[in-house]
């Protein structure tokens, strides 16, 4: 009986050992950027709340604004 209790205590003790999950975690309070601000300062070329349009708009903006080879040649 004693050994069973000891084993049970050992198992219970080991249950505390573990690793924290290392997944991409977003704060529960923070809203995703694609939801927009709902204000007039936002760029008009995408629809606020639409993730796909936000992503494609940012990619296009990154290319147009930063890749001078495609702009000049």
């Amino acid at each position: 009986m004693k050994s069973i209790m000891f084993a049970a205590a050992l198992v219970a003790g080991l249950a505390a050992c573990g690793e924290k999950p290392q997944t991409n975690e977003t704060s529960k309070n923070d809203s995703p950027a694609f939801n927009g601000t709902g204000k007039a300062y936002a760029n008009q070329d995408w629809k606020q709340g639409d993730k796909a349009s936000w992503e494609s708009h940012l990619k296009a903006r990154g290319q147009y604004g930063q890749n001078d080879y495609t702009r000049m040649n």
Partner: protein
């Protein structure tokens, strides 16, 4: 979308500090705190190189690992942000960060050392996007406005690139392949009038390494 990333092209950076100024102005960063800085290696020696450094939004961020109050979080786009309401200003993150990104204002709730402040990739913080509270704590949320970080958009030579990791690496790869090296580098002939320097559009000989 891949993770949001910064990359600085040392061949293009001219140490103008425009990125530093753009950041400070955009977010009204307090005196004594520079979220972005320009670092120059071999300053004053011919061939010196400069790069613009801020938070690199690490995939496995050491600041996040050492924070005792778990104030850091990562957005779906891979941007490392923090919650100033949770931060206790202990400074562990500044010791852990290899880029010196976490900065501490000299005045604040914790006496000498206030709550940590760092580059947010212009993505604000946990407060409502675009709100006054968010602006006062973290600065503007340009990502939620459909814009890229002010430092990169402001960069006059486009040395500092920001955005989707795939797009940014593609732009840099294209540059490295096309600009050549040494005196062949794009624009060198125009700027310095070197006869050996190629003009824009001249490609390196076949088989040459770049």
């Amino acid at each position: 979308m891949a993770r949001m990333k910064f990359v600085c092209d040392a061949e293009r950076c001219i140490e103008c500090n425009g990125c530093v100024t753009a950041c400070k102005n955009e977010h009204e960063v307090p005196w004594g705190v520079n979220r972005r800085r320009v670092v120059t290696l071999n300053d004053g020696v011919p061939g010196e190189k400069s790069i613009s450094v801020a938070c690199m939004h690490c995939s496995d961020a050491p600041c996040m690992a050492v924070c005792p109050v778990n104030c850091f979080y990562r957005t779906d786009e891979g941007v490392v942000l923090h919650d100033k309401d949770v931060c206790i200003g202990c400074g562990y993150c500044s010791y852990a960060c290899p880029f010196g990104a976490p900065q501490f204002p000299s005045q604040g709730t914790f006496g000498v050392r206030g709550k940590m402040d760092k580059c947010t990739f212009c993505a604000g913080g946990p407060e409502a996007s675009g709100s006054q509270a968010e602006f006062e704590k973290y600065g503007r949320n340009r990502l939620a406005e459909g814009k890229l970080p002010a430092c990169a958009e402001m960069c006059s030579t486009k040395a500092l690139l920001a955005g989707d990791g795939d797009v940014v690496s593609d732009i840099l790869r294209n540059r490295v392949l096309r600009r050549g090296k040494g005196a062949e580098v794009w624009g060198w002939g125009t700027a310095y009038g070197s006869k050996q320097a190629g003009q824009p559009g001249v490609t390196a000989p076949e088989g040459a390494k770049s």
